[in-house]
């Protein structure tokens, strides 16, 4: 039973990582940048949802929508002001700018909300499900987190495979010059990817804080790094990879915490990442890159 309940809580946190990783992977796939500010957009999303429900007395679903809208706009603004002018320059400059944006968001949140943690009330109200003669308890958060994650994955898969904009996104991430020649508005496609990534970050923020209710300006950074690891683990740039990577990482983390050592769980997660990358240098589902001479 213990094993099963650990597996289930691993699935829950893994689903959150998967949604965050999806944002990382899409942005990386299209603009080849490591967007270290993504974790902080998650934090902003969680704060907005918190404000909407606690201060503005909105219902939980409206809070999520407001937070998604806010983060979408935030993503577009960040991309337009900080990243767009740097397109085509070295990847390190963009990386440092992303770090600047990350500092900015964290410190803005610190000024507005203070450093004292806020207690986030879960958006999924109701009693936990009890199965198998009350031996196995599954919280509502777990069920909803996992199902929302699956729904998002399916939607994103459908969006990138079947719609015209989604196909444009894939074309730009494959070869942006060729895409431009085919009449795709590359800049707009990249902005749109940021918008979608940030919208997903808002959802991830609400899911994260529903599972772990402590909300601080630094809430997003560690899950951000872990989810980034998950994206690399699954093969960065690949949407199913983000899903597989996120969920596996969550399960490994919970199992490491339960059966090996709670203090060393981070070290174990990162060690597994290193081993996977050594065996498959582009991640589990990543594409092989051949070098031209």
């Amino acid at each position: 039973m213990n094993l099963l309940s650990n597996l289930i809580s691993g699935l829950a946190i893994g689903s959150v990582y998967a949604v965050i990783a999806l944002g990382y992977t899409m942005v990386y796939g299209i603009s080849k940048m490591l967007n270290f500010a993504h974790g902080d957009v998650i934090m902003v999303g969680a704060y907005i949802s918190f404000c909407a429900t606690v201060y503005w007395n909105m219902p939980a679903w409206a809070g999520i929508l407001v937070s998604m809208a806010f983060c979408t706009v935030l993503g577009i603004i960040i991309e337009g002001l900080a990243y767009k002018p740097l397109r085509g320059t070295g990847s390190l400059s963009v990386l440092i700018t992303a770090i600047g944006v990350s500092y900015f968001l964290q410190n803005a949140a610190l000024l507005i909300f203070g450093s004292a943690p806020k207690m986030f009330t879960s958006v999924f109200k109701g009693e936990a499900f009890e199965l198998l003669n009350h031996q196995l308890v599954i919280t509502r958060e777990t069920v909803f987190t996992f199902s929302i994650c699956i729904v998002i994955m399916l939607l994103m898969w459908f969006f990138t495979q079947k719609t015209k904009i989604g196909k444009a996104m894939r074309a730009v991430s494959e070869d942006n010059n060729a895409a431009r020649l085919m009449g795709i508005d590359v800049n707009r496609t990249i902005s749109l990817t940021f918008a979608i990534g940030s919208m997903l970050a808002a959802v991830a923020g609400v899911l994260l804080c529903s599972n772990y209710p402590v909300l601080m300006p630094t809430t997003g950074s560690m899950p951000g790094i872990r989810a980034f690891t998950a994206a690399v683990f699954g093969g960065i740039g690949s949407i199913p990879g983000a899903m597989v990577g996120g969920i596996l990482l969550g399960i490994i983390e919970i199992f490491a915490r339960a059966y090996i050592s709670s203090e060393l769980s981070d070290a174990i997660v990162f060690a597994v990442l290193i081993i996977v990358l050594l065996v498959k240098p582009t991640g589990l589902l990543g594409k092989k890159i051949s070098e031209k001479v």
Partner: protein, 359 residues
Amino acid sequence: MRKNGKLVLSPYKKNEITAYLVVVLFFGIMASLKATGVLSRSLSGQLIPIAAYMIMAVSLNLVVGISGELSLGHAGFMSVGAFTGIITSLYLAQAGAPTVVRFVVATLAGGVAAGIVGFVIAIPVLRLRGDYLAIVTLAFGEIIRNILNVVYVGLDRNGLHFATTSDIALLEGGSMILKGPMGAITNEEISTLLEGFILVVVALFLAQNMLNSRTGRAIMAIRDNRIAAESIGLSVTKYKMIAFVVSAVLAGFAGVLFGLNFSSLAPVKFGFNQSILILVFIVLGGIGNIWGGVISAGVLTILPEALRQFSDYRMLVYAVVLIIVMLVTNNKSVGTFMSGLKGKLTSRKKEGGDDSEKN
């Protein structure tokens, strides 16, 4: 090199001399300001960390700028150096060694320890490329920090005792040196500004000499075109390994200097954010430009202090400054303007028959 009786310096030498001059000037001014009491207490307390960050900038530049591989875990090497240094220093203190000897031995021990860790990490890291390599260095940085969280070290008359839990049976008069997540809490502050200055010069000297050597040119050739370099017989792994290990040793030195400046130090200080901070130094200083990184390490450590008048807003201002600097330095029209300006200033000299560039 002499030419027509005039001393002509190669760009390398010029760069090198400027670097040393800047460092000597900086520390000379700071030391005299500190002695006369002009410097505020918070700022004079920053001087040794600044020296440590300057060494870190040199160290990271060897990997990122010279070797061309992004490392996001350099604080890990720094922490290995710092805690090895603290253990060594306290052990020697018990043996009754004078402060200077303790510092020197601690520095060497920290450098060696960080070098060994760097070597072990480099074996898997150098098998990867590009962003994947960067992620693995990030992962190793976090692993080192995580492992340091469960290291407990005690010291008594019988010597050092290592354990992964806090229950170490110590003889009477013994004490705990490292306490897992709390880190070192009974450390003695023995770093001095002079020692910091000497270490910065040593780091610069090592880095500059390596750059101007056969090894340095091989490393840069591999950075610029790995396949071409490989095809003329350079061993990619060997040269990248040299750069990585030398960089780790320097980071270890910086760690010792940093660690022995605080009475208490926790492993959490050497997280991902610390690695990023150093990366920011060298990117703003100009990647691959050793002395640019050193200057920007100094400026960017003082900047948050100088922004104290903005009180709560200072980190926000810091973030905005960071973004604006990145945008401006990468802006094409600003770039054209600057190079145009530079061209106008130097054009007169060129007409004077300077043919050194053609050869």
